[in-house]
């Protein structure tokens, strides 16, 4: 779990910083955290404390709740992906082909019933 959490935090921090077009120094100054430490966080090498996450939320101009909400969302997506991977890994090559065919059939059926594409509800 701790590895997935580290990776998720790393992804979210990198994304938030890129969206704001900030350098590591800028994030360090706005959070009062050290550049070296932030760099480790963005590489997923460290697991921050709640106090550190709270400082990061403030640095990004988010409430703690918003920040943790974004983190939880990202973690949820990662876990869904991870579940899919686990399922896939447990299958033989033939089973995988069958599963892909079945997925094609489901997409075809959904299109026919006029229920739109197979994309997630928050697409577009």
């Amino acid at each position: 779990m701790s590895e997935r959490l580290r990776t998720t935090i790393a992804e979210i921090l990198t994304r938030f910083r890129a969206e704001r077009d900030w350098s590591l120094r800028e994030l360090a100054e706005r959070s009062g955290l050290s550049i070296a430490y932030l760099s480790e966080l963005e590489r997923g090498r460290k697991l921050p404390t709640l106090e550190v996450l709270d400082r990061l939320a403030a640095a990004f101009g988010m409430t703690t709740a918003e920040f943790f909400g974004a983190l939880a969302g990202q973690l949820g997506r990662m876990e869904a992906v991870s579940e899919g991977c686990d399922l896939w890994r447990g299958l033989e090559a033939e089973d995988r082909q069958e599963l892909l065919r079945y997925a094609d059939y489901l997409r075809w059926r959904r299109a026919r019933l006029g229920r739109g594409s197979s994309g997630s509800s928050d697409e577009a």
């Binding site: 360090a28 100054e29 706005r30 959070s31 009062g32 955290l33 050290s34 550049i35 070296a36 430490y37 921050p48 404390t49 550190v52 400082r55 403030a58 640095a59």
Partner: protein, 291 residues
């Protein structure tokens, strides 16, 4: 604080370069992208090793920027460098002792400031005087350095709450020793720019002959400059900057000027500017509060 308790001059050091009880450390450091260690490698005072304050006085694993490392960390790092209980440390840099002052703050906080001397004028004066320079990097055997104090000395270090109380109750003069642009809020290096309300502006380099050999000015001159912002030898003063390095230098200079009760707010603006519960003021100092 008497000058000879902390400062040594270039003649003094030149006579003791071969003294095995002395460990000379090059503390040059730059915020402009230059690498202090690379400068050291290009040439340094013969027999000196490089000391990186961001590694010795800050714990690299601490998420909080600039926070003073625990005494165990400092002692271990000094021992690893080859500085032991039997040695007297002599530090220098090329900014009038700016970065050596951080080491002074650290050692004094943990109870052994008397183990350090600062080379007055440092590298600047050494080179201007045409003294010998070496590229040889000495190897010192690992040693054991003991720091007696575990708890920071409250006579030297204060926290944000103490500063907050001091300005509310008027019990201390708070001195902002950063660039004027940082004080006014024009240059923002935290979530909020500006200064501690009521803080007076006293730029740290005022204690030095900055355009000359970067030695400390005579005590009487430093005091005269401190008096311009209302300080007297009896004042209780608290210095702060951005990360607790310039503030250490200013505190040392004011102590040299005979102001005994000078403390350092180590958390400085990196903390204050990022804490939404603390008040901030913007703009130029009132005429009687600047120097």
């Amino acid at each position: 604080m008497r000058r000879e308790e902390i400062l040594v001059d270039t003649d003094w050091l030149a006579e003791r370069l071969l003294d095995p009880r002395i460990r000379v450390v090059d503390c040059r450091y730059y915020f402009d992208g230059r690498d202090g260690r690379a400068e050291y490698r290009k040439g340094h005072i013969p027999g000196a090793r490089y000391l990186d304050w961001t590694d010795v006085t800050v714990d690299p694993n601490d998420p909080i920027a600039y926070r003073l490392a625990a005494p165990e960390h400092v002692a271990r790092r000094l021992g690893d460098l080859g500085i032991g209980d039997e040695h007297l440390i002599v530090g220098y840099d090329d900014e009038g002792g700016h970065f050596v002052a951080r080491l002074w703050l650290t050692l004094t906080t943990y109870g052994c400031g008397d183990r350090l001397r600062i080379l007055d004028g440092g590298w600047t004066r050494w080179v201007m005087e045409g003294r010998p320079v070496s590229v040889e990097e000495p190897v010192w055997p690992r040693s054991r350095f003991t720091l007696p104090g575990r708890d920071p000395d409250p006579a030297l270090i204060v926290d944000a709450d103490t500063v907050h109380r001091a300005i509310a109750e008027g019990t201390a003069v708070v001195l902002d020793v950063r660039r004027l642009s940082e004080y006014t809020g024009e240059e923002v290096r935290a979530r909020r720019g500006g200064h501690v309300p009521g803080a007076r502006h006293w730029f740290w380099q005022q204690s030095l002959d900055w355009d000359g050999q970067r030695t400390f000015l005579p005590a009487a001159e430093i005091l005269r400059r401190a008096q311009r912002v209302g300080l007297t030898p009896e004042s209780v003063a608290i210095t702060y900057c951005h990360g607790g390095v310039r503030a250490a230098h200013a505190a040392l200079a004011l102590r040299l000027a005979g102001i005994r009760n000078v403390r350092v707010y180590v958390g400085s603006w990196a903390e204050w500017g990022n804490r939404d519960d603390l008040p901030v003021a913007l703009g130029l100092p009132a005429p009687q509060l600047c120097s």
